[in-house]
């Protein structure tokens, strides 16, 4: 992240320096403004979902769900931290259902615990699964197409599903390949 930030920041700044020195500060300011607006709208989303998740937790539903998903998520993430695995599987379910904003707080908690466990593989797997967008129903695209007057808004569903499955599987397999040696060494130990 540090490298990407430095490279893009400096390249863009140089372009501003040569072509449009006045635009530089206003671009930064408008970025910050967007961040403030986004944070507030995220706050609304978190209020709703964190309240909901707490009710789910206190009712024991989260525990039930996690023990159902435990064998599967254990294999996927190779972690023994039950709580982390619970958050991770809830995060993936929220992603699959396309609940807007709901996966983020769950993903953050899972990432925290995976990192505390020093389980790089699990943290990276969580990242890849989230960043390759595992989604059954692309709700944003559907509503945009509907409002743009599409005759058949749903005809992108099948290709999108195939592609998102493809990217998620490819990402997971590539990551597994990269960790193959480390994981084997870990098993021997």
């Amino acid at each position: 992240m540090n490298v990407i930030f430095a490279v893009i920041f400096l390249l863009s700044s140089l372009l501003f320096l040569f072509f449009d020195a006045n635009g530089f500060l206003s671009a930064l300011l408008s970025g910050a403004e967007k961040a403030a607006v986004l944070s507030v709208s995220l706050l609304f989303v978190y209020c709703v979902w964190l309240g909901f998740f707490k009710v789910m937790e206190n009712s024991g539903l989260s525990k039930k769900l996690s023990s159902r998903l435990f064998p599967l998520s254990k294999k996927l993430f190779r972690s023994n931290d039950r709580e982390a695995l619970l958050y991770a599987s809830e995060n993936l379910s929220a992603n699959l259902l396309g609940l807007p904003g709901a996966p983020t707080p769950l993903g953050i908690r899972a990432a925290e615990r995976f990192c505390a466990e020093k389980n790089d593989y699990a943290a990276d797997m969580l990242f890849v699964l989230n960043a390759t967008s595992l989604q059954l129903l692309p709700t944003t695209v559907l509503s945009l197409r509907l409002s743009a007057g599409s005759a058949s808004p749903a005809d992108i569903l099948l290709p999108t599903l195939i592609c998102t499955l493809f990217s998620t599987l490819l990402g997971a397999v590539l990551l597994r390949l990269c960790y193959l040696k480390k994981l084997r060494a870990g098993q021997k130990r």
């Binding site: 259902l97 993903g107 925290e112 790089d120 945009l144 743009a148």
Partner: protein
């Protein structure tokens, strides 16, 4: 559209089902819900610096002309891979900014017509990729983990190949 109606039902159904279940388990709904909401403000505050940095970066990226220069440079490469030149910018912007690429998608939809080949490619490209940099900034904001290069590179590559596949599928299907 039956599908979008089902999608609309999903969230209220989920809430009703979980709350009824919680009531059966004698959970104090009001107390639990407010305890959860309490965590929302610290979370939003802790994310703010990362959001600010990433959004300033994406604003610089776009307004400096770097993104359009890259678009021009990469368009021939992209079209050799079967990605229409018109959606090159969308593919480049998506990893940085969700709202920016949503705006761009709706521009493309109205410019070319929602059912055109380009618009359908754009929809698939949008739907099958994800805001990779945003996720790397936000998800690992509180975790002490510095090396995210590997998963980020893998995600970007997988998403890109998925876009190539998507444009191919849009031509066939």
């Amino acid at each position: 559209m039956t599908l979008s109606r089902i999608a609309a039902l999903l969230v209220p159904l989920l809430f009703v089902a979980v709350f009824v279940y919680a009531l059966c388990k004698k959970v104090k709904l009001y107390d639990s819900f407010t305890a959860g909401v309490k965590e929302a403000i610290p979370l939003a505050v802790s994310l703010f610096p990362y959001l600010a940095a990433i959004l300033m970066l994406s604003e610089l990226f776009e307004q400096s002309g770097l993104s359009s220069a890259l678009t021009r440079m990469l368009a021939p490469v992209f079209s050799a891979l079967g990605i229409p030149a018109e959606i090159t910018k969308l593919v480049l912007l998506k990893p940085f900014s969700g709202s920016g690429s949503t705006a761009l998608l709706s521009e493309l939809l109205s410019a070319y017509g929602a059912d055109s080949y380009i618009a359908r490619c754009a929809c698939v490209a949008y739907g099958s990729s994800e805001t990779v940099f945003y996720i790397s900034a936000v998800y690992f904001s509180s975790a002490k983990k510095k090396r995210l290069f590997l998963p980020a590179a893998i995600s970007l590559l997988s998403n890109f190949l998925a876009v190539v596949l998507g444009c191919l599928l849009c031509r066939v299907l």
